[in-house]
């Protein structure tokens, strides 16, 4: 089993997001009326923390260069040139878990 508990993630407010850490890897948890979503903490464009951006329940925006994505799918919107990678999530007994086999990386993170 690789469902990992994201401690404290259930407290993320609706239409908001927060960065957490799983096995030393930054994970962004966002929430809207439909549920919780998980992504790598950094922007696919370059090393910017998405948690400093905005989440309105539909779109996530990175404040660095205003790239945007559909929150529920990670699909790029407008100027964004690359999709957000996503981790599956589940809610159980009031806790949030993500399916975490290995860290999702973007091209610029590869060695």
């Amino acid at each position: 089993m690789v469902w990992k508990l994201v401690e404290g993630a259930a407290a993320v407010l609706e239409n908001d997001m927060k960065e957490f850490e799983i096995d030393g890897v930054g994970i962004l948890i966002a929430r809207n009326a439909s549920g919780f979503y998980a992504y790598p903490a950094l922007c696919p464009h370059m090393e910017a923390q998405l948690a400093f951006g905005t989440c309105d329940g539909k779109l996530i925006t990175c404040m660095q260069h205003l790239w945007q994505w559909e929150m529920e799918t990670g699909e790029p919107v407008g100027m964004a040139e690359e999709a957000l990678k996503t981790y599956p999530t589940k809610e159980e007994n009031g806790q949030i878990y993500i399916w975490f086999e290995q860290e999702h990386k973007y091209a610029y993170m590869e060695d």
């Binding site: 905005t54 790239w67 945007q68 919107v77 100027m79 610029y108």
Partner: protein, 363 residues
């Protein structure tokens, strides 16, 4: 000026992006970004001064000299082969006879038509103190320049490594001009602004590379405009909204210019905004937002056509927009905290698409 560029001969450079490969040649004494833009090559960039990271690339063949290895644009974990085009110079070609780089992220930002960038010699014609720690500088260039409203230049000062970005404060002239106007805010411990405030005088010489920047007013946009500025960003506001005024944009469209100041002494005279209000069409509203609660405007400071409000620039903008947010372009320039506060209002409250927000960040 670049002080330690190694290459002594021209180097052919390929910069590979998603949309294709930009090919150009560098000559000794110029960085890769300047070389690319001088030759009209289509490479991405933002600040042109090492901070935003938009021009970051990887060297795949050949060698570069890193002119500022600690530049913030490299991020927290730079790789050994990372090179910011604006902070790197060609050192040697690779085995194939070219220096090859691959862009990390975005690619394909075109320079505005008719505004190919180049190096200019510049002479200070006039320096006036126009507020607390704020000067206005008029420069004479060694040849005419044409630029779009909202663009900036990269200025090189004697004995100071690297260029500093300052927006042109005059609206873009319809014809080429040899004069440019800057508004510069004094930066604590900033060698370039220290030079301008303490060691320069009419006659002082510097160099400029420009015009640069994609946050420009398009006279054919057919949209309402919002412009929020603070600090040195005042020059950007004068340029963008001045350019729109010259184009009679506010006879047919609405405009809102919000200038964020801490207190009235930040800007001794509001005359340039009064003049803009007088010549712009009926659609333009100009608001000065004073964030320091205790400051009282001196007598005669407020001029006709310009409103003064208490509070932060982003709050003043939010109030003045009053739900009007259909199809508009937003221009934002100033210190990063102000820009982020304005962006949040535009994205979360006004639901403006991110593509309609153009920012010029003054780091």
């Amino acid at each position: 000026m670049l002080t330690s560029v190694v290459n002594r001969r021209a180097v052919a450079v390929n910069v590979k992006g998603r949309s294709g490969t930009a090919t150009f040649t560098t000559v000794p004494g110029e960085n890769l970004l300047e070389a690319a833009l001088r030759q009209g090559a289509d490479v991405p960039y933002g600040c042109a001064s090492g901070t935003c990271g938009l021009c970051k690339a990887r060297v795949t063949s050949g060698r570069v000299e890193l002119l500022w290895p600690e530049a913030p644009g490299y991020g927290k974990k730079p790789r050994a082969d990372d090179a910011l085009l604006c902070q790197s110079a060609a050192e040697a070609p690779g085995d194939h006879g070219t220096l090859d780089l691959t862009l990390g992220g975005a690619s394909g930002a075109l320079a505005p038509p008719g505004a190919r960038a180049g190096r200019f010699g510049a002479r200070i014609l006039r320096i006036d103190l126009i507020g607390d720690g704020l000067i206005e500088i008029e420069l004479g260039l060694d040849r005419p320049i044409r630029y779009a409203a909202g663009q900036f230049g990269l200025f090189y000062f004697p004995g100071i490594a690297g260029g500093r970005a300052f927006s042109f404060a005059t609206p873009s002239p319809d014809t080429e001009s040899e004069r440019v106007l800057l508004v510069v805010k004094r930066k604590p411990d900033g060698p370039a602004t220290e030079f301008l405030f303490t060691r320069s005088a009419p006659g002082s010489r510097l160099e400029m590379f420009g015009p640069l920047g994609h946050a420009t007013f398009d006279p054919g946009c057919g949209q309402d405009l919002i412009c929020v500025v603070g600090g040195s960003g005042i020059s950007f506001g004068l340029s963008v909204m001045g350019g729109a005024t010259l184009a009679d944009h506010f006879n047919t469209h609405r405009g809102l210019l919000v200038v964020g100041l801490r207190r009235p002494s930040d800007l001794a005279s509001l005359a340039p905004f009064g003049a803009m209000a007088e010549t712009a069409g009926p659609g333009l509203r100009i608001i000065i937002a004073l964030s320091d609660e205790d400051s009282a405007p001196p007598e005669g400071w407020i001029v006709p056509g310009v409103e003064v409000m208490r509070g932060f620039a982003h709050d003043a903008m939010h109030t003045a927009m009053a739900g009007h947010c259909a199809d508009l372009m937003a221009y934002v320039a100033g210190p990063p905290p102000m820009i982020q506060a304005v962006q949040r209002v535009l994205l979360l409250e006004a639901k403006l698409p991110a593509g309609n927000i153009l920012c010029d960040t003054f780091y």
